[in-house]
């Protein structure tokens, strides 16, 4: 029994060490302690939108901002025209007052990511809403769905 306890404690120590180290790695940081708010909720924090509807919004409103949560290399290979990259892991540095003012002035904000899993985009939308924006749109299916629908794309880094 003593050996079992010692081995189990060894595994726990290794987990604590690697978990801590991984969370301190650049680009991966999660706040150690939750912020005491509810999970993002559709309707309240974000609105889901399919690629066709998002394109209609883009065409019918004069100032629609697309935020792309993917890695820089993926962004450079192709993105929604005019989209701006944003990383959920480093929001405080990216959401400057000027950028937030620009986002608040937009007619609509659409957030999209790399896949049909939109969890990060929902969290980002919630962060934006908590900073005074109207609930942003979250693109269902992410960039692959946009591209797959044959909608316009552009390549290269952010303008």
């Amino acid at each position: 029994m003593r050996r079992l306890a010692r081995d189990a404690a060894g595994i726990l120590a290794a987990v604590l060490l690697l978990g801590t180290a991984s969370n301190l790695a650049p680009g991966r940081h999660l706040a150690w302690w939750g912020k005491g708010h509810e999970p993002p909720a559709a309707g309240k924090d974000y609105q889901l939108v399919d690629p066709g509807s998002a394109d209609s919004i883009r065409a019918s409103l004069p100032h629609v901002v697309f935020l792309d949560t993917r890695a820089d290399a993926e962004f450079a290979r192709g993105h929604v025209p005019g989209a701006r990259p944003i990383s959920y892991t480093d929001l405080s540095a990216q959401l400057t007052r000027a950028r937030l003012d620009a986002l608040r002035a937009a007619d609509a904000v659409v957030v999209y990511g790399a896949s049909e899993e939109t969890d990060v985009e929902q969290l980002l939308a919630q962060e934006l809403r908590e900073r005074g924006l109207a609930p942003p749109y979250v693109l269902v299916g992410g960039y692959p769905a946009w591209e797959g629908a044959g909608l316009p794309v552009e390549q290269g880094g952010p303008r």
Partner: protein
């Protein structure tokens, strides 16, 4: 019960359950952020410790999987596997009783991937049984005169 102490059985259970844990852990270790949403969705924990769980639990799953599959510290890994699976069963059972089909976060952190909670409770039971077998019935070695590894250490 002697069959439960067979070495080959422990290797089979370790490889099977270890593989499941490794598969479950991989995506979450690479990016634990969506797991925060998943754990929120269970509506059990207060907000504070949710992030800690999202940071460390995938690593525990990874270590448990690796140890079970390789046989290194297998009994200790079975202890943690049992603890994790009991925790999962309680979390899933509470939501099954509430009538909520949660996104379990078992093999991915996709919050839109919901399942019937009772199905998830039942699906975890064979894994819990395998973990308990490896924890409670350590294998005998052929050269050990019928004693388990644990009892030979004591003597």
């Amino acid at each position: 019960m002697s069959v439960l102490r067979r070495s080959w059985l422990h290797w089979a259970l370790g490889l099977g359950l270890g593989g499941v844990f490794l598969y479950a852990a991989w995506g979450k270790v690479l990016d634990p952020r969506p797991l925060v949403t998943i754990i929120w969705g269970y509506r059990i924990l207060p907000a504070g410790p949710i992030n800690l769980l999202a940071i460390y639990m995938p690593w525990l799953e990874l270590f448990v999987g690796a140890c079970l599959a390789t046989g290194i510290l297998r009994r200790a890994a079975a202890f943690w596997a049992t603890a994790l699976l009991v925790m999962f069963e309680i979390a899933l059972g509470v939501n099954a009783l509430r009538g909520v089909n949660v996104a379990c976060g078992c093999f991915s952190a996709n919050a839109e991937e919901t399942h019937n909670a009772w199905f998830l409770v039942l699906r975890d039971l064979p894994m819990l049984a395998a973990a308990l077998a490896m924890l409670l019935f350590p294998p005998r070695r052929a050269s050990g005169g019928g004693k388990s590894e644990e009892s030979r250490v004591k003597s």
